[in-house]
C-alpha cells in the first residue's frame, strides 16, 4: 500500500490521557481529505509495527499539516501506549492516505453531532467544514472533566451556543431523547464514541421514528485478541501462524502479503478476503449473513485453533 511520509512537528498533552500530534509532510503538500476522514498510522511498537486508524482533527482545507488526537488505553494492545511513549517531535512516521467512512450527508439541512470522549475527533474536521459553509449544526459533547474533554475550551470559543457539553464528573448526562425529539425533517444525526453511547443513540433514534438513513455512526473498534491459529495461502502454499495478540490482517501484512485495508475495525469491507476451507469466528459488522461461509474480514475476525484456515490468497 502507498504510504505518506510525515514528520512529527508538534506534540501537546491536552489532558492526562489525550495527546495531540501534528504531522507535516516531508516534502510537498499532504493530500486533501473530506471531513470525517481518518489516517492509518504505522506506530513504532518495538520490533513490530502496529497500524492504528485515527480521525483527522485538522481543517480539511489545510494541506500543510494533519492533526490527530490519541487517547491512551492501558488495556489496549499497545498502539495508543506506543504513540504516547515512543513518538517524539522530529520523528518520521508513515501514514496510509486519508479515507472516509464517516462523511457528512450532502442532503442534510441540519447536522446533529453527538460525541462521547475521544469520539469528538471526527467532529473536529466536521466543525471546520460546517463553519466554512455556514451550515446549520449543533454539537453535543459528553466527557469526563479533566480526562477526556480534550477540546471543550477550544470548541466553546468557536461554537458558542451550538455547543452543548455534558461533564460526567459533574453529574451531567446527555438526554438523547430530548436532543432528538424536536428535530425538523431534513436533520441528520452523527455519533462517535464508546459502544454504549452509539447503542443508546441508535436505539433512541429508532424509537423516535428516525429512519436508518438519517443516523450515522463511527465506532472505535480495535481488533480483540483471541486464540492463536494458523492460515494457509491457497495460491502460494505458504503457512502462517497468527499469534493470539495479533490480528489476521496484521500478521498477513507482517508476512509481506499484499492486502488492502481501510478501517481496520470490521466495518468498511476493504480487506474482505475469500476463504476456501476452515472455520471463521466472525467479528465484523460488514459481511451479510450469507457471505460468511465464503468471506472473512481479516482485520477483526479470526480462525480457530483446531485446523488452519485456507485463504484464497
Amino acid at each position: 500500500m502507498q504510504t505518506l511520509s510525515v514528520k512529527v512537528a508538534d506534540i501537546r498533552q491536552i489532558t492526562p490521557l489525550i495527546r495531540e500530534f501534528t504531522f507535516v509532510p516531508t516534502s510537498g503538500e499532504l493530500p486533501g481529505f473530506s471531513a470525517g476522514s481518518h489516517v492509518v498510522v504505522e506506530v513504532p511498537a518495538g520490533e513490530r509495527k502496529q497500524r492504528n486508524p485515527y480521525s483527522l482533527l485538522s481543517d480539511p482545507r489545510d494541506r500543510t499539516q494533519y492533526r490527530i488526537a490519541v487517547r491512551r488505553l492501558d488495556e489496549s494492545r499497545g498502539g495508543s501506549q506506543a504513540m504516547h511513549a515512543n513518538v517524539d517531535v522530529g520523528d518520521h512516521l508513515e501514514l496510509a492516505s486519508p479515507r472516509n467512512f464517516f462523511p457528512l450527508h450532502s442532503q442534510a439541512r441540519h447536522h446533529v453531532l453527538i460525541a462521547g470522549g475521544i469520539g469528538i475527533t471526527p467532529f473536529m474536521s466536521y466543525v471546520a467544514e460546517l463553519q466554512a459553509h455556514g451550515a446549520s449544526f449543533e454539537l453535543h459533547y459528553a466527557y469526563r472533566g479533566g480526562l477526556t474533554g480534550a477540546f471543550v475550551e477550544h470548541l466553546r470559543e468557536r461554537l458558542g451556543a451550538k455547543l452543548h457539553t455534558y461533564d460526567s464528573e459533574a453529574g451531567e448526562k446527555v438526554d438523547i431523547a430530548t436532543v432528538l425529539r424536536e428535530q425538523r425533517l431534513g436533520a441528520h444525526l452523527y455519533t462517535c464514541g464508546p459502544a454504549s453511547l452509539l447503542e443508546a443513540v441508535r436505539e433512541q433514534a429508532s424509537a423516535l421514528g428516525w429512519p436508518a438513513g438519517r443516523v450515522h455512526w463511527e465506532e472505535f473498534a480495535a481488533p480483540e485478541p483471541g486464540v492463536p491459529f494458523s492460515v494457509e495461502l491457497a495460491k502460494s502454499g505458504r503457512r502462517i501462524d497468527v499469534p493470539g495478540d495479533r490480528s489476521l490482517l496484521e500478521t498477513l501484512e507482517d508476512a509481506g502479503v499484499d492486502i488492502d485495508s481501510g478501517c481496520r475495525g470490521g466495518v468498511c469491507g476493504a480487506c474482505k478476503t475469500r476463504y476456501v476451507e476452515g472455520q471463521v469466528e466472525h467479528r465484523d459488522e460488514f459481511l451479510a449473513e450469507d457471505e460468511r461461509g465464503t468471506y472473512v474480514m481479516p482485520c477483526v475476525s479470526r480462525g480457530c485453533a483446531e485446523r488452519p484456515l485456507l485463504l484464497d490468497l
Binding site: R184, L185, A207
Partner: protein, 170 residues
Amino acid sequence: MSEASDAMYSTPVYAEGLPNAPVTRRFLVCQVPQQLTDLRQQLPADDLPSESLSAAEAGDAFEARLTALLQEATIGTHLYVRGDESFLWHVRAAAYQQGLMDDEISLFRTGDRRNVYCVHCSHMQDVGPGDETTCGGCGVVLTIRTHFSKRLGAYQGVCLDPDDPYGEAR
C-alpha cells in the same frame, strides 16, 4: 412481453402495505377527499397525531399548505400520499425539497394519469393510459418507456419511429 419482465430497475414500485418502522406522527396527502377516507382505513387504529391535506379541497393554496406542513414537521413524521402518478411524484418532489427521505414517504397509486418527459424537446406532459403519445412540445410520436426519473417524476418518451417521427405516414 409481460409487464414484470418489461419493467426496468427505475420503474417505481408503489406501497401496498404500511411501513414497519416506528412512526410518531402521520401526514396524509391526497388528490381528492375520498382518498383520505381510503387511506385512513388502511392505517392502524391508534391515536398517533396526524394531519391531512386534500389537493382538491385546498385548491390554489395546496402548494403553500403542503410546504408549511412539511417545514413544521419533526423527524418521526411519515408522509402517506394517495393519488395518480403525476400527483404522487409532484408531492414527493416537494417533500424531498423539505428534506424527507424515501424511507419516510409511502406512495399509494390510484388511477392512470402519469407524466411523460420528451427526451427530444424536454416537454413534460400528463397523459392517460397507453404506451404511445404525441409530444405536445415538438409533435414527435413518442413511445413511453418504463424507464422512470425520480428527479423529474416522469417516464421517458422516445421517438417511436425515427423514419416517420411525426406519424405522417400512418
